[in-house]
Symmetry: C2
Subunit: 422 residues, 2 copies
């Protein structure tokens, strides 16, 4: 085998024909495999089943008040448990319901109507507002911006975080840039962890908008695949040091620690930000589900147990990631038509085809019964300018299904690439 680009026409044609046959025979298998979303598997859910038993009619004891109204910022025991995950003080954290995305969305919708700490006017009163979006990134972040007509400015994700030269230039000169999305550890989908230097520059940079906010979605904060865990610099501390304490909202959740549908979400920020959020929340609701917070507190007891629990997730996830990588290597290495990440954590492998091939690969895979994340999903407005990025989410299917799906993916990549070069 040799790189496709160096193959002569008839070799390419032969490869195309052979691969096309494989593709047609796979179609006949009526596969139904889904690698579209970063969704934990049943096996992972079972790791936390005992959490459901940690508050019941027998053992609730003197915690009856968690069933009643109140404590809009969450129970103190939950703050004590989760503050170490984000490296903040108890006054700098607020414990919410089951979805950190919901908290992010609500912060933005309220900012549009009322502004944030340091705003001179509600964001929605400005002619136009913009967010910086490192790309590729998380589609649900971008959907919030799209929903609320917030213009998205793509900035490339480099090996140690977003292109900071570009970010600094943008925010220094444009007052309409009010925010920036970030998944700073094991970024979705590239698996990049921001370097100390990137964190430092984000905390320090001069912004034309006084009320510029970084939405620091630390979704994979404890989601290592191996014993190695890259250090992520504490951005809140860095922001304080540089005199910008209110610049960042940090988010995390137990969606991929316990249960995606019934976890606990947290937001951390400066005391001033947290008080502001708490005040707004008091208008919105009387309080979060505190019983579920208590379940988590009793199940984990302390932060070390959360870390130990995550090793069990890694034991399930790692073989799936390895399977994907092994098959990609063995099937594609020699052809030189795709590159991919080899992440040390998080939920995704990010693959780039030759320019102009991703959407056709995804379409063919679907035809063969393998659902991948939609083409362009990792880019603002669903538009991958080079049409090359494919996000692979190996968590939900079984190991065998992952292997099957990636075999199919490789066939589709070879098929589309040869066809393009013919």
């Amino acid at each position: 085998m040799s790189e496709l680009k160096q193959m002569d026409h008839s070799s390419l044609q032969n490869l195309y024909n052979k691969t096309k046959q494989e593709f047609e025979s796979i179609k006949k298998q009526n596969l139904a495999l889904n690698m579209a979303r970063g969704k934990p598997s049943a096996e992972q859910l079972k790791l936390s089943l005992k959490l459901l038993d940690s508050v019941n009619s027998e053992n609730i004891g003197d915690h009856l008040s968690v069933l009643n109204y109140g404590l809009v910022d969450g129970i103190p025991e939950a703050k004590a448990l989760f503050k170490d995950m984000l490296g903040v003080d108890t006054e700098e954290i607020l414990i919410g319901g089951n979805a950190s995305l919901n908290i992010m969305h609500d912060l933005i919708s309220k900012a549009l109507i009322k502004g944030v700490v340091d705003s001179e006017a509600p964001w929605g009163k400005e002619d136009k507002i913009k967010f910086i979006c490192p790309v590729p990134g998380y589609d649900r972040h971008f959907t919030i911006c799209e929903q609320y007509d917030i213009e998205m400015i793509s900035v490339d994700m480099l090996e140690d975080g977003p292109d900071m030269d570009k970010v600094e230039e943008l925010v220094r000169n444009d007052a309409s840039i009010k925010g920036m999305w970030s998944v700073p550890k094991y970024s979705n989908p590239d698996g990049v962890t921001y370097s100390d230097d990137v964190v430092e520059r984000l905390a320090k940079m001069e912004t034309k908008a006084n009320d510029f906010k970084i939405f620091w979605d630390n979704a994979y904060v404890v989601h290592d695949l191996t014993d190695y865990s890259p250090r992520l610099k504490n951005i809140l501390e860095a922001c304080k040091k540089h005199g910008n304490p209110n610049r960042v909202f940090m988010f995390a959740s137990t969606s991929k620690i316990t249960f995606p549908g019934a976890g606990v979400a947290v937001v951390a920020a400066s005391k001033e930000n947290i008080n502001f959020i708490k005040e707004q929340l008091s208008v919105q609701t009387i309080g979060p589900d505190k019983v579920n917070q208590l379940r988590h507190v009793r199940f984990f007891k302390n932060y070390d147990n959360i870390l130990a629990h995550m090793k069990k997730h890694a034991d399930i996830m790692k073989p799936k990631f390895d399977a994907v990588l092994n098959i990609l290597h063995s099937k594609l290495d020699s052809y030189g038509v795709a590159t991919w990440t080899e992440p040390e954590g998080g939920y995704f492998i990010s693959l780039n085809t030759m320019d102009g091939c991703a959407s056709e690969v995804i379409r063919l895979a679907k035809e063969a019964g393998v659902t991948l994340t939609g083409a362009g999903a990792a880019f603002p407005y669903g538009n991958d300018p080079r049409d090359r990025n494919i996000r692979i989410a190996p968590s939900f299917p079984t190991l065998e299904e992952v292997e099957q799906a990636i075999e199919v993916l490789c066939i589709c990549i070879i098929l589309v690439s040869t066809n393009k070069l013919l």
Copy 2:
């Protein structure tokens, strides 16, 4: 005893002096009683403790998927259970998280940014928007309007619902009136259930704004204190009949059926409205806590069991309401300085003092260790124009505490009334 207004000066002075002595001696008791909020008691919470056991690691069975992402509109089993509570079809209901207030808030905040079904523009793009607020009403509704600069127009609550002549006139002539709050059964705090005629007129009335919405907060839909339950006409059906299917959002929750902090909230509306809400929700969150929905489904099984469960609440609540009413009657009847409701359900007794006395009564009660809902809380902007309304919430304290608190309240009312007449 005779009516205070007919007493001569010295009799009034004697009554004042005697009551003042009683008041001073109560202050020495250092009471700490709270009747401020409609909060269920510990005894009521215990009625539902077994709900916590209805989903655990042993019995979850093949419902593992409720732990995962998805189903932004709730699980079908929960729709089937709660649709009868609001009298709608399964396509007309959406099951949310733990707080219906949160759903109401979010509908309004999104309407401000994006509009609702039938909107020509987002509400927030209009120069001014207004809501009709039947008064006295629920303070948390009014707080949402105040937070978002929605002007509130008070309309008096009559014996069978809001003053419909006034409501019809307002909405017919003012396009900036976009919404109206309603607690249609056992209204907060007056305990009024809207008559068929009022419901019919609300459904039928001509509104200048095409996108006028009624926020129908049926918080006390199954919260009868006796075996009698007043019929509330189905407003969604009435709206459909009159060609205004998208006019109403109906809300309910199990906050005062199971757990205030860990219940399940529902919204019901036309299919078109529900689809619109669902689409917006999909931007906001991946899904609600479906495990808690399943807990409720398994605990209640069917709607009849919810009704049977509510009788147990009534057994706890009724003696407290009776105690309040008995003491009010025995202490105040003859003086003619206060009137109060005798509700058949809900959470409140609404008391009116002589004009100009309520805030002083509430202040003195606080001084004597009895916390009541803040003066004016039941009115937009916290302003009770006649300063006479006091909301009594007997649910949370024990029966003995309720009796003590109402004795104190009566003393404060007599003290303030005599002082005013002197």
